[in-house]
Structure formats: C-alpha cells, structure tokens
Amino acid sequence: MALGPLILFSLNALSAVVALLTSYFAYRFERLANNPLLKAIAIGFMLLGVGLLVEAGTSVALGQTLVEALKSRVLAVLETFTYLSIQMLAYIVVAAGYSYIAFGRSQKAAGASVLAAASARVVDLVGLYRFAVASYFVVLVLLAFVVFQGILIHSRSRSVFSLLVLLAFVLILSAHVVLLVSVIDLAGSLFLVGTAIQFLGFASLLAFLIRSARVGPS
C-alpha cells in the first residue's frame, strides 16, 4: 500500500479517538450541568469521530486518499459523500451550539436558518467534485464562526482551558483552508498536509482533555 493512505489512516484514526473522547466527556458533563452547548459538542464530536473513522477506514481499504478518490471516482460516493456529509453535519451541530450561547434562545431560529441556508447551498450543487468543494467551504464558514466565538470566550476568561480549545479550532480551521485548496487543485500531498494540521488541532484538544481531567477536588 502507498504511504499516503497509511499516514492518512493513522492521523484520522488518532483524531477520531480524540473527537470521540471529547464527545464522551461533553456527554458526561452535560448530564451534570444540563447545558445545550455541551449537548451540541457531544453530538457534533461524536459525528466528527464517526466521520473521521469512515475516512480512515475507506482510505486504507481503497488504498487512496479522498483527493485520489475524487480523481478516479472509485467508490467515490463512499469515500467522499459519506465523510463530507457527516463532517458538515458535525460542524453544523457544533456551530449551532455556539450560536445558541452567543445569541440566546430568542435568536435561535435565525441562527438555525443561516446554517440551514448554508447547507442547502451545498445540496443544490450537482456533482461529487463540486459537492466536496462546497462542503469544505461550508465547514470553513462554520469553523470561522466557532473560532470567532472562541476568541470572544478566551478574551473574557483568559484561562488555559479556553486557550487550548481555541487553538484546537484555529488549527482545524487552518487545516480546512489547506484541505479546500487541495480538493480544488486535486493535490494529494497538500491533502496530507491539511490532515496533519487537523491532527495537530485534535492534539491540542487532547491536551485540553488531559489537563481538565487532572483537576483535583479543590
């Protein structure tokens, strides 16, 4: 097997484990704190973890990356459509959670309609290549919103925890810029770079999980 898909498999599988861990802790603490953002984080990261596992599994099974699948169209529906749809849905849920705490219940419908319009734009587009480009673009917009909220949150709290979460989302956003360019150019090596940056984002999230789990009784 080529080295590319193997690296992609490793990075995505590790990122998926971190995403599922984040989802687990968000679910566990949501039961205590009963907060809608934690629920959104739990669902969003669970979807993200599943999506990353699909991407990892199919890249190793097919022996090719998403960009190569787009070129050859071999099982492209499984490789591209499933992963990108799950990923887009995951970030819609996370961004909806942030919009809920940012704008409150009264603006919930407005926030949801913006997100629905963004995803509808993708559904309108025909063709797998255009779907891939558009879905990465929508994810970029959603991540930009999440990063903006993260900056506001960190500027208020100045805690190391909010900084690690912000760093994670900034890296994931940067990764998606690279991934979007790689999909547009059908550049396989750039796609690997984007996946590596995304992995660094999940590594920051892992550092956050470890630090928050180390907290004692006082």
Partner: protein, 94 residues
C-alpha cells in the same frame, strides 16, 4: 446600568455546600450556611438531598447536628470540578 447577577445553578450551590463541609471536616449547619450563602430553609432542602444521595452523612450528638462528606461525596466533588474546568474551555460556567 450594571447587569443583574445570574442566579447560582443547583450544581454550583451543591459544589459550595460540599466544599464547605469538606473543608470543615465535621461541619455545623451555621458554618455551611455562612460558607454557601443560603437561607436556612434552602440549606435544609439541599442538605437533605445531598444526604439522600449518600454524598454527605449526618451525625447527631444530643442537640448538635454535624455533617461530614462521604467518599462518594468526594468523588462527586472531583467530578464537578472536572466538569467545571471542561465547560470553562467552551466559555461556560456551572
């Protein structure tokens, strides 16, 4: 005009009570009342709930009543602290 202070959540009140009891060892109701900043009626309600869940135990000696945190209560306290730091990362407070 200043923004009105948000009322404490039940979880935050439980955290304050458990912290007070743990710090005191054998805590008298008046000490808990002062530390948790609650009215007597509300304190009794919360203490009964915590005792019912096995998070604190009541010790009665004559007319004196004291409260002590149980091992389950210490575990719960750690869990709340972890939840607090986790949700702090996402800009929330318990």
């Amino acid at each position: 005009m200043g923004q009105a202070e948000k009322p404490r959540s039940t979880l935050r009140i439980n955290l304050d009570i458990l912290n007070a009891i743990r710090d005191e060892g054998d805590a008298k109701p008046t000490h808990i009342l002062y530390r948790a900043n609650l009215s007597h009626d509300r304190l009794v309600k919360y203490l009964d709930e915590l005792a019912g869940k096995g998070l604190i135990e009541v010790q009665q000696e004559g007319e004196n009543r004291t409260y002590r945190i149980t091992p389950k209560g210490v575990s719960f306290l750690i869990e709340i602290r972890r939840a607090e730091t986790f949700i702090q990362g996402f800009g929330l407070a318990i």
